[in-house]
């Protein structure tokens, strides 16, 4: 059996493991950052993949089922990180964890983003906590010499989390806000058209977190012939592809609309194949 660092068996790439919380801190008004010590799992994880987390606070309280959480930070020698929007019982239990507490994870799961080494630049369009899913892509792109331009959409400047997004990747950030109207669809459309028509036209586009922005990006990327990928979210049962509760409608290459599992065939899908929700 081929064993990786800390005994991760290549034959069994998905592990159920109890990890120790290294850091647990609030970010802004409604987000929370969770870093876990997981050398083997973090090195084995890829941007766009997710973990299924058993959301139990320090007292062992939390919902019965696990919650899928996309990877925010991962890589060789780095802690495994999640950036969560605290909005329900599961995320509240996770936010109640403290450094030194334990957390059971299952993963890494799902199909992540793909980067073509021939690409020179990509554009990322993220809204809200969707930026957590897209954040590790910036560092993966930087490592391959691919320039990243990111349009980050938020309610107001204090919700932006630009530093949480770009880390050390050097991504060029264009923030847009509801509070000043710059995130409205017509303004966004003008911004994207200018980018797609200019000298810094991206070789690929990526998005997560907003149905409205997804539809806009799908339409414009289709019009300009730019390939794209989208990370979809869905309520899950098992997270492994066994229960078929997390399906979404996807347009197959032959034009037929089929139900695919977000946990197994996704969560990353071709931008043009995904249907609105």
């Amino acid at each position: 059996m081929d064993l990786g660092p800390d005994g991760v068996a290549a034959d069994f790439p998905v592990r159920e493991q109890v990890l120790t919380v290294a850091e647990s801190v609030p970010v802004g008004r409604r987000y929370h950052r969770l870093l876990l010590n997981a050398p083997g799992l973090s090195a084995a994880s890829r941007p766009g993949q997710f973990f299924h987390l058993l959301c139990r606070d320090g007292g062992g309280n939390g919902p019965y089922l696990r919650r899928p959480m996309s990877i925010w930070r991962c890589g060789e020698g780095k802690p495994l990180g999640f950036l969560l929007h605290v909005k329900g019982r599961g995320t509240a239990a996770l936010a109640a964890l403290r450094a030194g507490d334990h957390l059971s994870v299952v993963g890494p799961l799902g199909q992540g983003f793909t980067l073509d080494p021939a690409w020179r630049r990509i554009l990322i369009l993220a809204r809200g906590v969707g930026l957590a899913t897209l954040a590790p892509l910036t560092e993966a792109a930087a490592a391959r010499g691919i320039a990243v331009r990111a349009v980050l959409s938020a309610q107001a400047p204090e919700d932006l989390m630009a530093a949480e997004f770009s880390g050390d990747s050097g991504a060029e950030i264009t923030p847009v806000f509801d509070s000043d109207g710059s995130s409205a669809v017509p303004a966004m459309e003008a911004l994207l058209r200018a980018t797609f028509e200019g000298s810094s036209r991206p070789d690929a586009v990526f998005t997560c977190g907003s149905n409205r922005l997804f539809l806009l990006l799908q339409r414009l990327a289709g019009e300009y012939g730019i390939p794209g990928q989208i990370a979809l979210e869905q309520q899950m049962g098992c997270g492994l592809g066994m229960c078929f509760c997390c399906v979404r409608q996807i347009r197959a290459p032959d034009g037929q609309v089929v139900n695919l599992r977000v946990c197994a065939e996704g969560p990353v899908f071709d931008l043009q194949a995904a249907l609105a929700w």
Partner: protein
Amino acid sequence: MVDLAVRIGGMTLANPVMPASGTFGPELAQVFDLNRLGALVTKSVTPQYREGNALPRLCETEAGVLNSIGIPGKGLPHFIEHAMPDWRRFAAPLVVSLSADTVAAFAEAAALLAATPGVAGIEANISCPNLEEDGRAFAMHPETAGAAIAAMRAACGLPIWAKLSPNTADIAAVARAVEAAGADAVVVANTILGLAIDIDRMAPKLGAGMGGFSGPAFKPIALRLVWQCAQAVRIPVIGVGGIATAEDAVEFLMAGASAIQVGTASFVSPNALLDVLDGLSAFCARRGFARVSDLTGLALPGRLRPAAE
């Protein structure tokens, strides 16, 4: 060394631990070696393509889940052609869960499976809606349950396990009917009908309305059903319903089960099947049981059910 082997009708399983249909797939091989299991049980396969039910298909409760997935699938011919090669990678015996709308469709499908290499047995999911009976499940009544099993028995020589429904007034009568019809074992039990309502939307939480309830909160009911069936029939009982730990499994064996299935627990812990298996072996070793089959029926009244078949 504890002898973990159990006999289920004509089949000898290396151990009594297997997955429950609908909560398992080859995907779990990403987590552990599936050949450690006593048997593999597929999601239910239907003769023809099924779209599946409207979303949401699953909702959690305090100690379990309601599901109404709707058996989505591409149909039996597609399963035989495309899924079976994947299943044949595994050495553990493969039991194909089969669901159909009519007695004739059950029989035709059973014959097709009997002609398919690599199928060790059929779990007849007679707990699904029966179009001939106005949507009621075959397993709600002894007559319809017996008719479905008898038709399958006549159509194929494979071992047939009848998966019974808790949604019936007299499960012992249903168990006796499928035994008389030629079933090799009964699997007790499928999910129990339940409901959850979203009070903000003022509508059922599940897209389909009602759903099947499973998980830890269902365990006492499933255990009682196993206990009743074990006293009603001579064929082996396979216990399923809320089993999450080795201690749960021991309870089912003592209530009369010869083997057990782990279902919903695998959603919370993908390692649950292995943990139950290892814990069962440790329990037998600790308590001096040389054979896991010695546990079967120990808690039945007057120990009606001898350990050996």
